[in-house]
Amino acid sequence: MNTSQTVPRQHVQRSRMVDFRRFLSEFTDGRVEKSAVLILIAALLISVIAPMVYHSYSDINPLDRMKPPSADHFFGTDHLGRDVFERTMVGTRNSLIIGFSVAIATTIIGCILGLVSGFISFGDKIIMRLMDGFMAIPNVLLAIALVALMGSSLLTIIIAISVPEIPRMARIVRSVVVSLKEMPFIDAAVTMGTPQWKILLRHLLPNTVGALSVQATATCASAIMTEAILSFLGAGTPPNIPSWGGIIAESRVFFQIAPWAIGFPGLMLSLLVLSVNILGDRLREVLDPRVARRRS
């Protein structure tokens, strides 16, 4: 046995750095993925910068009603003469905040519920039947009810969209955990004295990441859509905050005269949702060591 070699520690850390760089390069590999990353970064920048730059997005200008896109108004103007470009840019923040908040909230809560019922089997049946119940609630109706009760605010919308999404996440985590639990490597961990919490964090959770990332990004995309639907129905964010769904809703009557007023925010919505979905798929591929290394 050779005991004079003393490489290990540094070696481990260096390899993790290499892994991270490889992760980045693989993540942005391919034209579609590159565009999706760029769109997402652009959306993030816009959502930070736009509200600081544009202050006149609510200014009504009757003389400039329903003007087509021009150098003055890139996306044209709506039926009240408001600049659609400014409104759309400012509305980006709303969509992103709701998309990400819902994705994060449902992932955390769904993950905990899924792990509890799948691994600890504590109240498995009760939790799952409750989840079935929550799933049966249509999110749009719940949102309308909540907005009626609590008033229209970002938080209300986030809660309303999250509640019916949590069970989906919980079910996916549970099913993955239930099947992983029977794997020999879990038995192996038990025989080598690994405590339960460590089995959960080191063996089960990392192996749910693939399923989690897909569901989280799908949730993010669908939350952005749902928010647009709610704004369209008038149950979304308050009217003083422009949102893509709201802009589309207000302009739908004038669709034939001023198509740009719903076309541009609609295009932004499609691009963002598409990008998030593409990156979600890619995330799953890159995070799975089996798929990731095979490509390189």
Binding site: T3, P8, V12, F185, M192, G193, N207, R290, R293
Partner: protein, 318 residues
């Protein structure tokens, strides 16, 4: 050599499979594993040998009967006592891939048991993991690889290194080579035998492959439908089997030389269902020499020769 390390006393395991039915996977198994020996457990699929292995590791709780380790009863231990006991008995699994976490590199997999018992400093544990890789004949660079980047044989070596990390006294190997290519099987078996010679550990070797068993084991236990039917030194049991089931099992091994071929007693029919085992001797439905008497009582293990015991009423006890 003959000092008992792990002993079971009338160990039984019954699984409830719903609708009021139960399946008796292991019935009244009493066995002794001595220090430094290799004990093979052989039998057909479904004879309860894997369940027995899991009982020995306390991955399953026995329905009745007791297990003693080094003279201490361990069938009811839990918590910190159980954790301290676990380091004495480690397992090598059948499938080298699924017994490793796909998201953990080899180095971390070996370090995990060391971390669990907080042995030495982090640096020392890294060093030990490193040495173990070397010990089982793996290139040290493989420490940075994920299981899917290793071959089956390499994964099994990794599994053995991980099992050895805690310096166990007993290694339970559940068909450790049946998933490997024949050429790799020999390598892994020789590795296990070398390690046993160096470290003096006892091995429980579960297998259905009799040629492998002959190669590696000191004593053999033959199981049929959850019960021990024959037990004794490997060379005696495998060369001059007593129990009709052992005879039939050995006859099923192909012989590589035409002139050595002998008349065979091939078994007919299927293994009786463990859900509804036959009365008396469980093997009587397929036994070539069964009589009416065999249906009456469950035969007990009796001494039938020097160091050999068998459970068959037709054998004269000695």
């Amino acid at each position: 050599m003959s000092e008992a390390l792990l002993e079971t006393k009338e160990l039984s395991k019954t699984f409830n499979i719903g609708k009021g039915k139960s399946l008796k996977a292991v019935s009244d198994v009493s066995l002794t594993l001595n220090k430094g020996e290799t004990l093979a457990i052989v039998g057909e699929s479904g004879c309860g040998k894997s369940t027995l292995a899991r009982l020995l590791l306390r991955l399953e709780q026995a329905t009745s009967g007791g297990i003693e380790f080094d003279g201490n009863d361990i069938s009811e231990i839990s918590g910190a006592v159980e954790k301290q006991w676990r380091r004495n008995v480690q397992m090598v699994f059948q499938d080298p891939y699924t017994s490793l976490n796909p998201r953990m590199i080899a180095h971390d997999a070996i370090r995990e048991p060391l971390d669990n018992y907080a042995e030495g400093t982090k640096q020392e544990r890294n060093q030990k993991a490193h040495d173990l890789l070397h010990r089982v004949g793996l290139n040290v660079d493989f420490g940075q690889r994920y299981p899917h980047e290793l071959s089956g044989g390499q994964c099994q070596r990794l599994g053995i290194a991980r099992a050895l990390a805690l310096n166990p006294k007993v290694l339970v190997a559940d068909e450790p080579v049946s998933a490997l290519d024949v050429s790799i099987q020999a390598q892994v078996l020789n590795l296990m035998m070398d390690l046993q010679a160096d470290l003096g550990i006892s091995i429980v070797f579960v297998s259905h492959d009799l040629s492998v068993v002959r190669h590696i084991s000191d004593r053999v236990i033959v199981m049929y439908l959850g019960r021990i039917v024959e037990e004794g030194p490997a060379d005696i049991v495998l060369d001059t089997p007593s129990h009709p089931y052992t005879k039939a099992l050995l006859d099923s091994v192909p012989i590589d030389h035409p002139s050595k071929r002998r008349s065979k007693t091939l078994l007919s029919g299927e293994v009786a269902s463990p859900l509804n085992p036959p009365s008396g001797c469980a093997f009587r439905t397929r036994c070539p020499v069964a009589t009416d008497q065999c249906a009456q009582t469950i035969p007990k293990l009796r001494s039938v020769g020097p160091k050999v015991s068998a459970a068959c009423i037709l054998l004269e006890s000695k």
